[in-house]
Symmetry: C2
Subunit: 332 residues, 2 copies
Amino acid sequence: MVGKRKRKISDIGERELIQRFQQLITPNKEALLMGSEDAVAISLNGEALVINTDMLVASTDILPSMTAEEVAWKTGVMGLSDLAAKGAAPLGVLFSFGLPEDMEESYVLELVRGLNQVCREHDTYYLGGDTNKCTELTITCTAIGKVPKTELIKRRGSKPGDIVAITGEFGYTGALFEILIKGYQIPKRILEKIRSKALRPRARIQEGRALSSAHAVTAAIDSSDGLAWSLQELVNMNQVGFYIDQLPVPKVCADFSKMHELDVYDLILYGGEEFELVVTIPSDLWNTAIRSVQRVGGQLFPIGKVTSEKKNILVRDGEEHAIEPRGYEHFY
Amino acid sequence: MVGKRKRKISDIGERELIQRFQQLITPNKEALLMGSEDAVAISLNGEALVINTDMLVASTDILPSMTAEEVAWKTGVMGLSDLAAKGAAPLGVLFSFGLPEDMEESYVLELVRGLNQVCREHDTYYLGGDTNKCTELTITCTAIGKVPKTELIKRRGSKPGDIVAITGEFGYTGALFEILIKGYQIPKRILEKIRSKALRPRARIQEGRALSSAHAVTAAIDSSDGLAWSLQELVNMNQVGFYIDQLPVPKVCADFSKMHELDVYDLILYGGEEFELVVTIPSDLWNTAIRSVQRVGGQLFPIGKVTSEKKNILVRDGEEHAIEPRGYEHFY
């Protein structure tokens, strides 16, 4: 008799795997955030200590032509962005390296220089970490931050009638994926613009702190798995829907899409690896919210409303379309 | 003209690589511990927040025949042990996974169950983490702990005349490496004893807390790279030497060594992946130290003295021998 084939993790996908993990983990009843959030938070002397760990893996996360500095930048922003979504200010960052032994020393040192730079440009420090031999390059970024307990932002809290807003435009990484992976040709000027926007993101730490200290948001999420997926996560957490009727379309993305007959909204909704915050704001706090973000030099684009019906609608050219609940997932 | 071959990280080794890293990282002048310690520490509301990140990599860290539970146990203890060396109590642990997509679901869930267990048995919680696709299994363990600032133990502080002590016997992992990697045959009874000691270590959290709150140690280090290397690290940090004349020899390790004509002191000094603390204690605080450790159910073995001459001596059978400054190193 042939034995039954054992189930592989590729059979179940990342999100189901994580759900199974959570069933095996003893909940810490005193934790402020666990499990279904990107970062965890625990109470420490009246403050919330927020911790996030995220791994960059060469074969899935490094695009062709990315420089060591761009890889470092992405790694650091990936970790810091989850602190931003919680309204936390960073206390420091650790990086744990898995390094192939034939990797060039100069490349590794470029990574370290870049990681130090991304920390310094977000007003925090590269505190330490460790190095290990591994068959492929991996960098685990652990970001630690803090926020007064009453200012900790969660994913749960969106209410029908809230305004949905984003801290920056989407579409650049979706466009860059098409260019670098599928090889679409475009004029250098447009490529440079898209590339710099996509590969030099910022973690929206200051915007997150501003919104959190103004108590102006009901929920927030970062958008590393794409805008559509971030909206879907908020739907799942809050039993609400989104009516998105003012989504900004970056001009270079529109130009690029037109050139190759692509749908620019595909680039905007399903790109992934963007690091803007997606937030929901009670309409009577909108002015407070936008002023607080502008005060730190940031931007806030209203893109629609929270609705009571559990579905996501995009309005384009006056017509309503469903937003698909898909985004980046490992193990597909 | 043929270009000069670029230097690989395998050409320089892990320790030199880490030194180069440190030259590129902007020091945080307010950090309590950075760089040359296994964990970092920052000041937070009068306490020291201690953070350690360590990566387990399948190809270098998993021994033949290790179960998923043993792999999990090692991963958790590896992370927690560095908190113990600083005198910190854990606040929680995060695990970041790199997983080959053809890995069996049941194996991954065994890992998670084991990680949860190792956290609970050290009186702390598995708080969260993330999962990623990777060509080989890696698990990055991030342990967060706290300790009153005045009780934070560092590697620097050992003084000539101090007593050197360890929280448990060494030799089991060295013996197990020989058995599992080189295939030495031994009676099952001895194997089981060695295996359980080597693969079910404990992080000496309670011992570390006891010694730290009693202000009884001048310096401490955990011994994940082996006893000899830990002593060497203390030598480098403190400009002192060690005269080791009472090193305990576990009976099963002595029996195993005799059986195969191995030198038991090689197993004890150069094994690595043990997680005992190596501490230095002013002689007038010895009674305080041992009482504090016994009160939490731990042990403290005095093994020798700190000397002013910068070398490490082992006394065996009445004769002095130099302890070689070697231990486990990646990228060899």
